[in-house]
């Protein structure tokens, strides 16, 4: 401890003290395992970021898919009547209506109902 400051400390000794302190700057060093620890942590974060990016892409794909499916579903729902056939009781009911309106039998009314369902405008084919 020979280089430590003298007992009678005065203004001019500050430079010496500063030099003593400056000389001690390399005394403390990081421990040997700190560097690998830092690099490992950064690598872990890299891996987490990759996983997060994958998860984010997956979520975006799922949302897009859901939106497409919902759009198709609503589109089909709006045209549902075009694709649904009448029930037997509805056919029966309509054939009776045709028969009553046009004055022919219920069988001919049934024929007109099916013709209409095939795309015709239910022309009067009754005898």
């Amino acid at each position: 401890m020979n280089s430590l400051p003298p007992n009678h400390w005065n203004e001019s000794d500050f430079a010496e003290l500063e030099q003593i302190i400056a000389d001690a700057k390399g005394y403390v060093v990081p421990s040997a395992d700190l560097r690998p620890r830092v690099i490992d942590s950064v690598r872990e974060i890299d891996v987490q970021h990759v996983h997060l990016a994958k998860l984010r892409n997956l979520i975006i794909c799922a949302v897009l898919l859901w939106m497409i499916v919902m759009a198709v579903f609503f589109q089909l729902s709006s045209k549902r009547k075009q694709f649904t056939s009448p029930t037997s009781s509805e056919v029966e009911q309509k054939s009776i209506e045709y028969a009553t309106q046009n004055g022919y039998s219920k069988d001919w009314g049934m024929v007109d109902v099916f013709r209409e369902l095939r795309g015709g405008n239910a022309p009067n084919t009754s005898p």
Partner: protein
Amino acid sequence: MQTTDTNLDSFSQQVRSCAQRVCENRSLAIGSLYDLTSQRLIRFAVTITRSQHDAEDALHASLVRVSETPELLLKAQQPWHYLLQMVRNDALQILRRRKPTSQLNPMHDLVTDCPIDAVALAETHRAVWKALGKLPSEQSELVVLKIWEEMTFQQIAEVLDIPLATASSRYRYALEKLAVYLRQQREEVVYE
């Protein structure tokens, strides 16, 4: 605030260049930033935490944060000063979380670089570090920045966010106390 490189000191330029590389390849480039700054950051952090372990935790946290957002360093006016501030903030956070009892024996766990042929010199260095450990951290960090980082009081005031006059007077006061502590230690050695 982005500045031109002409306003940067050379070490800040090196830090910025490392940060640029971290932007390009995080895990590969963080090693070079560590190699460039760790020695200087650890001694700064130790003077705040008074513990090697806590200082390393602070340094670890700061460097990991830099790896996540290297843009912080790239955009900083003085990247090196910004990095010092990051480490200081992390060290202070660790200090706040630490149990009061762990401060009973400051600077007890230092990892030192002491060649065998320089044992006598290391004794003086140890005395300096012990004396620094007795100072309040707001004084010891100032001594570190002024003497080891060779900063001006203006730069220190910016890094520590204190008035210029406070930085100057606090430094003066710290040196006076250090002188007393070092003298006391010398007397203890003589009596032993």
